[in-house]
């Protein structure tokens, strides 16, 4: 035996480390980018970073291959061939910006609503939204409408914050965690870190999900529910808890509108609204003095049940009375919902028992005196350590808004919102509905060459805030905030192309898109969408959507369908700002924001989109982007991040403000701010004092903190709205009792969906189709190692998901004589796809599923034309129509939640038929050309070989 070889054990990783923020997904983890010889040697998680605490997911770890992907766009492009052909010529940035300015400026003067500006995976919505407002079009939104607006809207309207990025379970203290419909989510790493903590502590983790992969695989209990029925399950648990008296009455009285008095006057415009005093304060019934007093009156002992008559003769009942009567109804008994949900009664009862046990028998206490907003001093924080989280399994159904409300109802009934061990708000949330704007976009809000009079997006308080004209027609291109989707708080991006193509409610001239693959995986009816993008007006010979400007960083499917391409940098080459004004990365205990900065210089003629927006804004002369003498206000995005002020002293970043960099939240601009961020690992974190950490909605110390930080100018406590008055107002409009009255065509639908108390109704597609013809559900899940469409150009990630099988439950396989590897037709009311299957038994018996967005259009993403992504991979999107089946009167609703307009991706119903073996998945589309003659991708990669030792 010879001597062992010597191994170089102590080589430094690289020459230099630069700390920035990952953007392989929207989780926004901190990363250490190690550079060697000017190239990326290694990316690891930043241990000090509050989001990921050092860990890094598969996508983040594949950043090298993302950054160097051959699919990166290289220069601005102008279309030369027909749309969809992929024929472009490279142009200079000057020409690109002048062209865009000409296209946009002309419409701005003529009819600004004819520019529709929609952004996808946008993390700079506070800039893009501001830009759109200054531009003056009513047609702006980001992707929330097809993503998770059900979560956001239901959460904000019920508890003042949402599961969706605005809160998190108290991972360190919770004893029971119930997760609904989550495969991965935006909190990718924090959820995994959290689940691991639960496991270590022996806390119980229940996953409610038709599919048992990923997180569900490690759950202590898996509830394989039938899609679209979660509200029934939750309300049945509510029913059981009420029957068992396991509810937190003290919490309900303190923090909710349970005691508020609801007017009982059927047939009048006040029916179901809260009785209020002259100052518009809601009234409660005081049981000692037996009279109605304003809610929150000191020392009042409000009634939670009973019927009362107010001095003015109106009959009223505490809203809790209505709530109890509703949910004690035997139709919510476990036995009554078992068949519909597919969950046995004993499991529902077991879940209720487990919730009750953890909430009430294992209550926890943190010794920390605090004062509530009524001035009452408490000796400690008492927690009910049950927490919940929910995402798209709930959100992406047309009953998702109410289902989400049902989950919040359950949380509140057991007193577990923002308590130790419960679901906790992340600042700047909670934020009451009243602190959100109402939407702007009605005719009086805009006009030639002027800004929109207020923000585009917000929350209507009632039908009076809808964006409709005299006749009740939508004023936005996506029909958000119209009778179709009155509380479409995030807009309805998934309807833009279809509506613009149909000229309904009106045609547009320029479609301006950013970071959204609308010609492929983010549209329903993908083939139809591609056709709409290429359809021409027979009379004029012009495209129905005449001009399309698009910004992408890669050669995605959408590129070929645009006329002018503004190529973006990769996430390692630009400044970005993860702002409290936007979708922040805060945590329950700390206020946080972050930046990205160019840790590596672009080697192509590309520009950060945000800087391009600023340039365009200045060229267009938009207020807010040019100074008095027509000089651009900002040099570039970095300059804007530092100097822009939304309100005096409040800018995009909260950290290191003030001349000395010692101010937090409020403070004058600090020219060294970015430098300070970079030194600090590209993030900023300010701890919330312990006294302010819980019951933020009603905690005086937190409210003061929020004002100090600049979230609000005055305290904005939140009273949880279990009974929702705004919803009732829409119902009254549907009854014709309130102005503006809902049109006849919309009345039934609104009455069914706008129950002021959370309820379940059958998902709209399921209700509309023949359930025997389409007996199964088809849903998609996020793969953990792939982010939507943008991982397939990544040489490492694509090896993990090169194609996607259709996972078919064993029972269906046995019934239809199918086995793994067989080909099937999967057929919906809208179309059919031919794909390969894989049998699985760890799934709800009626639910077929696949990984989302693995299928690619041939030729895109710089992949070989024969790449499995294009030949075998597939999308369910081909089967999903953007409209529901026609009704008797020919009217077709958008395939969305009737309250929020949330795209109902997971309502899809299908049947399955065995097919002849195939070579390629169908439908199959011709390959698209790479836009310009980019260098051929290499046939072999030996990344890092020069450093081998």
């Amino acid at each position: 035996m010879g001597a062992e070889p010597r191994v170089a054990l102590s080589q430094p990783i690289a020459d230099e480390v630069r700390k920035t923020t990952c953007y392989m997904c929207a989780c926004r983890c901190g990363i250490n980018v190690h550079l060697k010889d000017g190239k990326i040697r290694y990316i690891e998680g930043n241990r000090d970073h509050p989001v990921n605490k050092g860990v890094l997911c598969a996508k983040g770890s594949a950043g090298i291959m993302q950054h160097y992907a051959p699919a990166r766009l290289r220069a601005p492009l102008l279309r030369t061939g027909p749309r969809g052909s992929g024929e472009f010529r490279e142009i200079s940035w000057d020409e690109a910006l002048e062209t865009a300015t000409k296209w946009l400026g002309e419409v701005r003067a003529r009819d600004p609503r004819k520019v529709a500006f929609f952004t996808g995976r946008d993390q700079s919505q506070s800039l893009t939204g501001f830009w759109a407002q200054q531009f003056g079009t009513p047609n702006y939104a980001a992707h929330g409408g097809f993503c998770s607006v059900n979560m956001a809207a239901a959460g904000i309207m019920t508890i003042g914050g949402a599961f969706w990025e605005f809160g998190a379970p108290d991972w360190d203290r919770t004893r029971l965690f119930v997760m609904f419909g989550v495969a991965e989510d935006h909190d990718s790493n924090p959820i995994k870190i959290g689940l691991s903590k639960l496991k270590q502590r022996g806390a119980r983790f229940v996953s409610v999900n038709p599919v048992r992969t990923g997180y569900s695989a490690i759950a202590d209990s898996w509830v394989g529910i039938r899609p679209g029925t979660d509200a029934l399950l939750v309300l049945s648990v509510v029913h059981e808890l009420m029957k068992a008296r396991k509810i937190d009455l003290d919490y309900l009285i303190r923090y909710t509108n349970s005691p508020w008095l609801v007017i009982d006057a059927p047939g009048t415009a006040d029916h179901g609204l809260f009785a209020r005093d002259a100052d518009d304060k809601p009234l409660v019934f005081e049981t000692v003095t037996e009279r109605a007093v304003p809610a929150g009156s000191k020392g009042a002992r409000p009634a939670l049940s009973g019927s009362f008559t107010l001095p003015d003769g109106r009959r009223v009942q505490p809203s809790f009375h209505l709530l109890v009567e509703k949910y004690l109804d035997p139709k919510y008994a476990p036995e009554a919902v078992a068949a519909e949900t597919g969950v046995p009664a004993a499991v529902i009862r077991g879940l209720a028992a487990e919730i009750a046990r953890a909430a009430f028998d294992q209550a926890i206490e943190i010794d920390q005196p605090w004062t509530d907003i009524y001035g009452e001093r408490h000796q400690s924080f008492v927690g009910r350590p049950v927490s919940f989280h929910a995402m798209r399994g709930i959100s992406a159904h047309s009953n998702g808004f109410q289902t989400t409300r049902a989950i919040h109802l359950l949380q509140v009934l057991i007193g577990s919102v923002d308590c130790p061990g419960g679901f906790r708000f992340e600042p700047p949330y909670p934020k009451p509905l009243e602190a959100h704007p109402t939407p702007h976009g009605r005719a009086e809000h805009f006009g030639s060459n002027k800004p929109l009079s207020g923000p585009h997006l917000g929350f209507p308080r009632g039908p009076e805030d809808l964006l409709i004209d005299e006749q009740g027609n939508p004023s936005r291109i996506d029909k958000a905030f119209s009778w179709d989707a009155p509380i479409a708080a995030h807009g309805m991006m998934h309807m833009v192309i279809a509506n613009a193509h149909a000229g309904d409610p009106y045609p547009i001239d320029v479609l301006f898109l950013y970071m959204a693959n609308m010609a492929w995986n983010s549209s329903m009816n993908t083939a139809g969408t591609m056709k709409m993008l290429t359809d021409k007006d027979e009379r004029t010979g012009e495209y129905r959507i005449p001009k399309i400007i698009y910004s992408d960083a890669y050669d995605s499917e959408m590129v070929a369908y645009a006329d002018l391409i503004l190529p973006d940098t990769t996430y390692l080459e630009r400044y970005d700002c993860i702002s409290l004004l936007d979708r922040p990365i805060t945590e329950p205990d700390a206020v946080q924001d972050a930046i990205r900065w160019p840790v590596i210089e672009p080697d192509r003629d590309v520009r950060g989109f945000q800087s391009v927006m600023l340039d365009l804004g200045a060229r267009l002369g938009l207020p807010g982007f040019i100074g008095p003498r027509g000089v651009p206000l900002y040099k570039d995005y970095a300059d804007y991040i530092v100097r822009h002020e939304r309100r005096p002293g409040i800018g995009p970043l909260a950290g290191f403000r003030g001349r000395e960099g010692d101010r937090t939240g409020r403070g004058s601009a600090n020219p060294d701010q970015l430098k300070r961020y970079i030194e600090n690992g590209s993030f900023f974190s300010a701890h919330i004092p312990l006294e302010a950490q819980f019951f933020k909605h009603a905690n005086q110390a937190y409210q003061d903190f929020a004002v100090k930080m600049g979230f609000f100018d005055t305290p904005k406590p939140v009273i949880f709205q279990l009974y929702s008055e705004p919803l009732q107002k829409f119902r009254l409009a549907a009854d014709g009792l309130r102005e503006p009255a809902a049109p006849e065509s919309h009345r039934e639908r609104i009455k069914a969906a706008f129950d002021p108390l959370p309820d379940w109704y059958r998902p709209l597609e399921e209700a509309a189709v023949d359930r025997e013809e389409f007996p199964y559900h088809a849903i998609s899940q996020r793969p953990m190692a792939m982010y939507h469409s943008w991982g397939s150009m990544n040489a490492w990630l694509r090896q993990i998901h090169t194609k996607n099988p259709l996972y078919v439950p064993g029972a269906i396989c046995d019934e239809q004589g199918l086995k793994t590897g067989d080909w099937v037709w999967l057929i919906s009311r809208h179309g059919r796809i031919k794909v390969e299957i894989q049998r699985t038994d760890a799934v709800n018996g009626g639910t077929i599923w696949t990984w989302n967005a693995i299928g690619k259009r041939k030729g895109a993403w710089a992949l070989d034309k024969d790449a499995p992504e294009g030949t075998k991979g597939f999308l369910l999107n081909h089967l999903i129509h953007e409209l529901l089946p026609p009704k008797g009167d020919g009217m077709r609703w958008s395939n969305s939640d009737p309250v929020t307009g949330q795209a109902a991706w997971y309502d899809l119903r299908v049947r399955i038929e065995k097919a002849d073996p195939g070579k390629e998945a169908e439908p199959s589309f011709p390959a698209i050309r790479r836009p310009v003659d980019l260098p051929e991708p290499p046939d072999e990669l030996r990344y890092g070989q020069e450093w081998a030792r």
Partner: protein
């Protein structure tokens, strides 16, 4: 060097993988690839990276299994199938057959800590060690023509240019679910040994006689919800709302 160390190695460095918390995210897989391309030995190459039959060399891969109970543990609610995500890299076997078959001495097990390594300078790329390994822990790098395998991140764990906390394998450091643990399994008092003892850590394919150092912690038994359904005893007969309101009044008086 092809002979195994004649005495048991004083240290047995290895990984402990917790199947109860692995969510199958592939973070360890990609981070391992990233660390090891441009690190120890030649780069981990990829063939046809943007083509139809893309493949590459990886030192760690995750399989996903479906386990159907057959009279064994009752899982979930009704003996339903269960999914287990299963990471797999070199187990640094004590009786490593991959070492003894190697004709060149390229493959060796370190006497000091038991890490099984390939000295790429000597490797002729015959592939026999990959055949000998029952676990599929060795992959040929087709560009370099040498055998690649998990090095237990030997260029991290002893790396003096690193902070102490970071002297752990890349896959362990990156795992978001903390499903991977690194330590000395020869030391009964090490955290990993204690974990293995407490959780009943197991060997993969013990019948192959390889005596792996790496251990797997089996998934914990699941807890059916239906078993506790009866715990939610009903306080009073409350079939109707009236009973509930009566209770409510009583409770409110006490608050």
């Amino acid at each position: 060097m092809t002979s195994l160390p004649s005495l048991p190695t004083p240290k047995k460095l290895g990984l402990v993988i917790d199947l109860d918390v692995c969510v199958g995210c592939h973070a360890c897989v990609v981070n391992c690839k990233e660390w090891n391309t441009g690190g120890y030995g030649s780069a981990l190459s990829d063939q046809h990276p943007y083509g139809a039959d893309v493949s590459g060399a990886w030192l760690n891969r995750i399989h996903t299994f479906e386990v159907k109970p057959e009279g064994g543990e009752i899982v979930a609610e009704a003996g339903e199938a269960r999914i287990v995500h299963f990471p797999k890299s070199c187990l640094h076997c004590e009786d490593a057959p991959c070492v003894t078959v190697c004709p060149t001495g390229a493959s060796y097990k370190r006497a000091e800590d038991g890490i099984v390594l390939v000295d790429e300078e000597k490797c002729i790329g015959c592939g026999l060690c990959a055949w000998a390994c029952p676990y599929g822990a060795r992959e040929m790098d087709l560009a370099a023509g040498v055998m690649k395998k998990c090095t237990l991140c030997i260029d991290r764990i002893y790396n003096e240019t690193f902070e102490e906390v970071d002297r752990i394998p890349a896959c362990v450091r990156t795992c978001p679910a903390n499903a991977r643990h690194f330590g000395d399994l020869a030391d009964p008092n090490s955290a990993v040994s204690i974990m293995v003892a407490e959780r009943g850590g197991i060997d993969l394919m013990p019948e192959q006689g390889t005596r792996p150092v790496n251990k797997y912690l089996p998934p914990r038994p699941r807890k059916p919800l239906s078993a506790i359904a009866s715990m939610l005893h009903e306080a009073e007969d409350t079939a109707d709302a009236k009973g509930f309101f009566a209770w409510l009044d009583g409770m409110l008086d006490r608050l």
